[in-house]
């Protein structure tokens, strides 16, 4: 193989940097900075949700607001097979169970609803969150005569490692899909679905399967967050904000690349943390909204798009002067 200097540089950026970051993050708990771990858990949760959301919605343009539903299914899977008292499966098995449950639900929902376009699809998927939540409330209160469940509590470090592993796998899968011919098919669906179908792409299968894959990761983090919160009820598990936040983060970071939602999730959840804990907590939603409006108006390709533009200008000038 003939590797030029440029190829090496590219290989370093696509593979080297993520691996270095992952290694650094893997040793992070050894500093013993407890607040840092809590903060990073928060980051990782939203990195997974917004990257997973981007896998499907970012490329196809179908705006799904069912993130909270798939996340909540993971939480409830943990509540059922990982209770604080009684028989439990090992945690990694529970993660797979929660992820698989979300995958199956997304597959069924996708098969039924992915013929809906635009706002209708967005509304239906959001309706799903409310339907599942209300059904669970009804079941717990009228059938079981109680509300909420207790999940076995896990320590910060365990949660951190699980979230880090899930985030790494999510990003890796997003990257592999993007590079593959499957990713090309997804892109063509986003560009012009009718033309894609006439070029031999089985659009229904591609859409439904990808939707289920993105739900898989949402379910997986749901399981882990349940072990952090310990007490869960339908209102906690199916909070509508969990549908919107990942979308906002992906838009903020820019969902044209995989770095976009990652950066968007980290920055956005950091801002959220500062605003919520500081004196600004009352203005939290106001500032959130303002940032979003400014992003949509002035940065259509998000933060990553802005960085790329600046970079191109700097490089262009350097080349021009050379």
């Amino acid at each position: 193989m003939d590797f030029s200097k440029r190829d090496w540089k590219k290989a370093f950026i696509t593979a080297g940097i993520p691996v270095i970051i992952l290694v650094v993050l893997a040793f992070f708990p050894m500093y013993g900075w407890q607040y840092g771990i809590t903060l990073f858990n928060h980051f990782l949760l939203f990195v997974v949700l917004s990257v997973a959301w981007t896998i499907f919605s970012g490329t196809t343009g179908y705006i799904s607001l069912a993130t909270a539903a798939f996340f909540g299914i993971g939480i409830y899977a943990a509540a059922l097979v990982y209770p604080s008292v009684g028989d439990r499966y090992p945690l990694f098995v529970v993660v797979l169970i929660g992820a698989a449950a979300s995958f199956v639900l997304a597959f069924i929902v996708g098969a039924i609803t992915l013929r809906l376009k635009g706002i209708y699809f967005a509304m239906f998927t959001f309706g799903l969150v409310l339907i599942v939540r209300e059904l669970l409330y009804w079941y717990e209160i009228t059938v079981e005569g109680r509300r909420g469940r207790i999940v076995k509590f896990e320590g910060n470090d365990t949660i951190y490692y699980y979230l880090l592993a899930i985030a790494a796998v999510t990003i890796l899968v997003a990257y592999l899909i993007k590079r593959s011919k499957f990713g090309l098919a997804l892109q063509s669906i986003g560009e012009n679905e009718e033309a894609a179908a006439h070029m031999g792409v089985n659009v229904t299968m591609v859409k439904v399967f990808t939707y289920a894959v993105s739900a898989f990761f949402m379910g997986a983090v749901g399981v882990i967050m349940a072990t952090k919160w310990s007490y869960v009820d339908p209102g906690v598990a199916f909070a509508p904000m969990m549908s919107f936040s990942p979308v906002l983060m992906a838009i903020f970071g820019g969902f044209g690349s995989i770095y976009g939602p990652v950066i968007g999730a980290v920055i956005f959840s950091y801002i959220e943390e500062i605003l919520k804990t500081g004196n600004w907590s009352r203005y939290y939603m106001l500032i959130f909204g303002t940032i979003l409006v400014v992003t949509i108006l002035f940065l259509p390709s998000g933060l990553v798009g802005l960085i790329q533009n600046v970079w191109r200008r700097v490089m262009g000038r350097r080349r021009a002067s050379a």
């Binding site: 090309l184 098919a185 892109q187 063509s188 560009e191 012009n192 179908a197 070029m199 089985n202």
Partner: protein, 239 residues
Amino acid sequence: MHLLEGNKLTINFGGLTAVSEVDFYVDKGDILGLIGPNGAGKTTLFNLISATLTPKSGTITFKSRNITGVKPYQVCRLGIARTFQTVKIFANMTVLDNVRLAALFGDSKKPSEAEATKAAMDLLEFVGLVGAAGIPARGLTLGNQKRIEVARALASRPELLLLDELMAGLNQTEIAEAMDLVRKIRDRGVTIIMIEHVMKAIMNVCDRIIVLNYGKKIAEGTPQEIANSKIVVEVYLGE
């Protein structure tokens, strides 16, 4: 045995019968022209053949196999490709990726990525767009975007190609080039059905012509016969 045969095809949208009991066929190696006034049902007939729509009654047979009611992607893989009246390119994908996609998914032989890229480059060479391979498709002129559509359709290695108003909106030079391209495609062994309003092109290129009006087939024959047909002249020019 005809390559493609339509038997009493009918479809209606609400009260409007867009295509009514139309029989047609095309033989291997032919260029069949489809003409008629606006709203005559030409594109609807294409949509029936390419499975965008399912006929209310009637059957479509391709290579003696009944293909009525299959999915669009299956029709493509069976060997029927199409272009669109209003171009439906993948605007933000590169010209090469537009064509590569069809090679990867539409070709029933399932080529590898490398083979698909090579096939796509060859087709870009064939339609004269090799220099634009790396450019996003949205940056090309209408004439060149139509070439992308042709290359993309050919990338699925069809036996039958449906061209929907390939020449609409093109200038005289581009029309002459497009006519040339149609003949070159036929010389590759691809059978063609084309919808066209540019009469010069239809009369020069087609072996046979079908005339539709209000969803019904009103005439069929060689370009010479159609040009001399009283009923066709009436429909187009009034009495």
